[in-house]
Subunit: 190 residues, 2 copies
């Protein structure tokens, strides 16, 4: 049940048996089916979510009604809406399951308490955030300096195993282009 998340943490910090139990004791499990929403824009995201199985995406709907995917989350990734989680303000995202998924969720207060009781957790999430930050920075660079086609090729190279699990439409919305454009890019040469 909790192997994946415990492994995720003990890669960076050592925890005692007792600390692990304390940690897992505040976890909630949730199943979501494909196409089901974990969060709707306007609601407050009260949990950080760890994916043990399946796949989700977080996205905005912009003024023209276009969906823009900010993140995908597969097994062993965290997802949610950090802005809403931290601030308590309504989320600007939707979070939707793309496959039937299993999530482990930690509530804000519980996590704050854990940070005090198990200071090493700060270290763990600091490290995760460092990497997430670097990945985001990379994405900004790509979105600024590459053409749609180059971004798609880079995506293929970085996430070859995930491309097959995602629809063209979702990949396009992640790359910031229209489905039509991605379809054309794919048909040019492959």
């Amino acid at each position: 049940m909790y192997e994946r998340i415990v492994q995720n943490i003990t890669r960076h910090v050592q925890l005692t048996e007792d600390e692990i139990n304390r940690f897992t004791s505040v976890i909630r499990t949730k199943q979501v089916r494909r196409k089901q929403y974990l969060l709707q824009a306007g609601d407050v995201m009260r949990y950080e979510c760890f994916v043990t199985e399946g796949c989700l995406r977080s996205f905005y709907v912009d003024d023209n009604g276009q969906e823009r995917t900010l993140t995908f989350a597969f097994e062993d990734w965290w997802t949610g809406d950090m802005y809403s989680f931290l601030s308590g303000n309504p989320s600007r995202f939707d979070v939707e399951a793309l496959e039937d998924s299993t999530l482990l969720m930690i509530e804000r207060q519980a996590l704050e308490k854990l940070y005090d009781e198990i200071p090493q957790l700060n270290r763990h999430f600091r490290i995760l955030l460092e990497r997430a930050y670097v990945a985001m920075q990379n994405r900004i660079f790509e979105s600024m300096s590459m053409t749609a086609e180059e971004r798609y090729r880079a995506f293929q190279v970085r996430y070859p195993q995930f491309e097959q699990r995602l629809s063209l439409k979702h990949i396009a919305s992640y790359l910031g282009i229209t489905p039509e454009s991605l379809s054309r890019i794919r048909s040019n040469r492959k």
Copy 2:
């Protein structure tokens, strides 16, 4: 000398006198003059840098020779290249002073040691990173769903005090557009 950085930290965590001394003892101070480079692409960034005075930017030069600004850093902001700092790999950025600046720098090994000696520091940087991550996510959203003009207006609203300290060229490279385009946007209506 160290008031700003100590304040930066004690906003999130309480440190003892002793811990503060330990922290400041590993800090190096550096002055950089306008147009001077703190880091050149290809070198390893061995420090995280806290700006006590002045302003810097980190940028890439893309394949067409266009500069793309990833971050600005003003007083009380951290800068550097987290990717290079963490991995020890050569940086893909240049970091350049836009004004005469004063920096406080912490070397990688020293910071790792501090994380062990003062576990609360993990908490501090976790919190900073959470915010930086949210800001980055926001920027991605803007770059995907807004026109050049909308991004510029949003920039003006978010950083009114900084717009005056930055040249058109640098703002344009931050927004991911050409100087010519920003000039046209500005002249349309202001």
